[in-house]
């Protein structure tokens, strides 16, 4: 997938053109493309003067970065301790069934990517689900259907 070098240069300029800002650059690139394209990693490494192996190490170390294209909406099901005790695994199961996708995967129509996350810090409202930047607290197995249709309708 060809990447927009001009856009990448803008991001590098904004974040800072040195090694310390590699993660920040990658995060902004991911916001732009909804994932971190391999070509983007190569270009950024070239610009920063660091080996591709270093860029790949950082890109694959941090869970928030994805080298695979993500769906239009990313569902994060929290599996923190409080959420686990209050049925987080069942909520995840509900999403797996409703979306017909495994954790880490994207639906065939490219709408949703399902991920688990290790604690969003809203433990008092367990079990928690975050879709893009919206949080849903005290989620139940049934509510999952509503959450999905909510996002399908509001394109």
């Amino acid at each position: 997938m060809p990447v927009d070098k001009k856009k990448l240069d803008e991001i590098i300029l904004k974040c800072g053109r040195d090694r310390a800002h590699l993660l920040a650059i990658f995060q902004d690139v991911q916001k732009e493309y909804r994932y971190l394209p391999k070509e983007a990693i190569k270009y950024v490494c070239m610009r920063l003067g660091i080996p591709q192996s270093d860029g790949n190490e950082v890109a694959t170390f941090y869970k928030s970065l994805s080298l695979k294209p993500r769906g239009k909406h990313t569902v994060h099901v929290c599996l923190g301790t409080a959420c686990h005790l209050k049925g987080g695994a069942d909520v995840l199961l509900s999403f797996i069934r409703q979306l017909d996708v495994q954790t880490g995967g994207t639906t065939a129509d490219g709408e949703f990517t399902l991920e688990s996350v290790n604690c969003l810090g809203a433990c008092a409202l367990a079990p928690l689900v975050r879709v893009d930047d919206k949080d849903f607290g005290k989620t139940t197995f049934q509510e999952v259907r509503n959450i999905i249709s909510d996002f399908k309708d509001h394109q």
Binding site: N56, T60, L67
Partner: protein, 236 residues
């Protein structure tokens, strides 16, 4: 100079020297895996651990990274040290059941089989990271790197595709302690880390020697004309 004691015996060491070096010099046997003379160590394998008593506090430390101190008391075979070494070796035996070096070291420490379901997909790689560092610091092309973390951490060229910078020198093969890395040659082609290199044929003896890509790299970085490099080392 610093004075310390290893297993009860008084030894001297230079200031800032690592325990491992001192101990080995003095004839104490400490097993290692991820340490290499030319590259030092990052303390990954934990096999070289020793017990130290420093100002009354007992610690188990990686001897390859622990600097000597005046008055230090070191024990290379205490119960805790043995426990850590056996733990490491049993875990590696389960991870790399086909690695002869691991089998040998494990047996040396009284472990003949691991109490875990052995992995089939890790080959002989113990993630010592020596290949990565060798490629980066000695060869200078950084064709290899670590990726992922935890149970999926692995070593290889970035993006799991043949590396653009790999020059097929095979230094990683030499430095790998377990022999995990495979380099094959057949009909004038060398294959390593899924990258194929056409080998140069020496104009004098007509035998294949080094990858052309490697010679080109040497030529560029050292300013040596290709015609010279095409002649194999023996003929030169």
């Amino acid at each position: 100079m610093v004075q310390l004691a290893i297993n009860g015996r008084r030894v001297s060491a230079g200031k800032g020297e690592m325990l491992l070096k001192v101990a080995q010099r003095e004839g104490f046997v400490i097993p290692t895996l991820c340490y290499h003379e030319l590259l030092g160590s990052a303390g990954r394998c934990r096999l070289c651990v020793v017990e130290v008593h420093d100002a009354g506090k007992k610690r188990v430390v990686a001897s390859c990274l622990y600097p000597v101190k005046e008055g230090l008391e070191v024990f290379t075979d205490s119960d805790e040290v043995k426990l850590v070494r056996r733990t490491v070796l049993e875990l590696l035996l389960a991870r790399n059941p086909s690695a002869e070096l691991i089998q040998h070291l494990a047996r040396q420490h009284g472990i003949n089989e691991a109490r875990y379901v052995p992995d089939q997909d890790k080959g002989k790689c113990i993630l010592c990271n020596l290949c990565v560092r060798c490629c980066k610091e000695i060869v200078g092309v950084s064709a290899l790197g670590l990726s992922g973390k935890g149970p999926v951490k692995k070593v290889g060229p970035p993006f799991d595709e043949p590396s653009e910078t790999c020059i097929g020198c095979g230094a990683c093969v030499v430095i790998c302690p377990t022999g995990h890395i495979v380099m094959e040659e057949s009909k004038g082609v060398r294959t390593i880390w899924k990258k194929k290199f056409a080998l140069a044929m020496c104009p004098t003896c007509k035998r294949y020697h080094l990858p052309i890509f490697q010679l080109e790299w040497i030529s560029k970085t050292r300013n040596i004309p290709m015609e010279e490099l095409m002649v194999c080392e023996d003929c030169r």
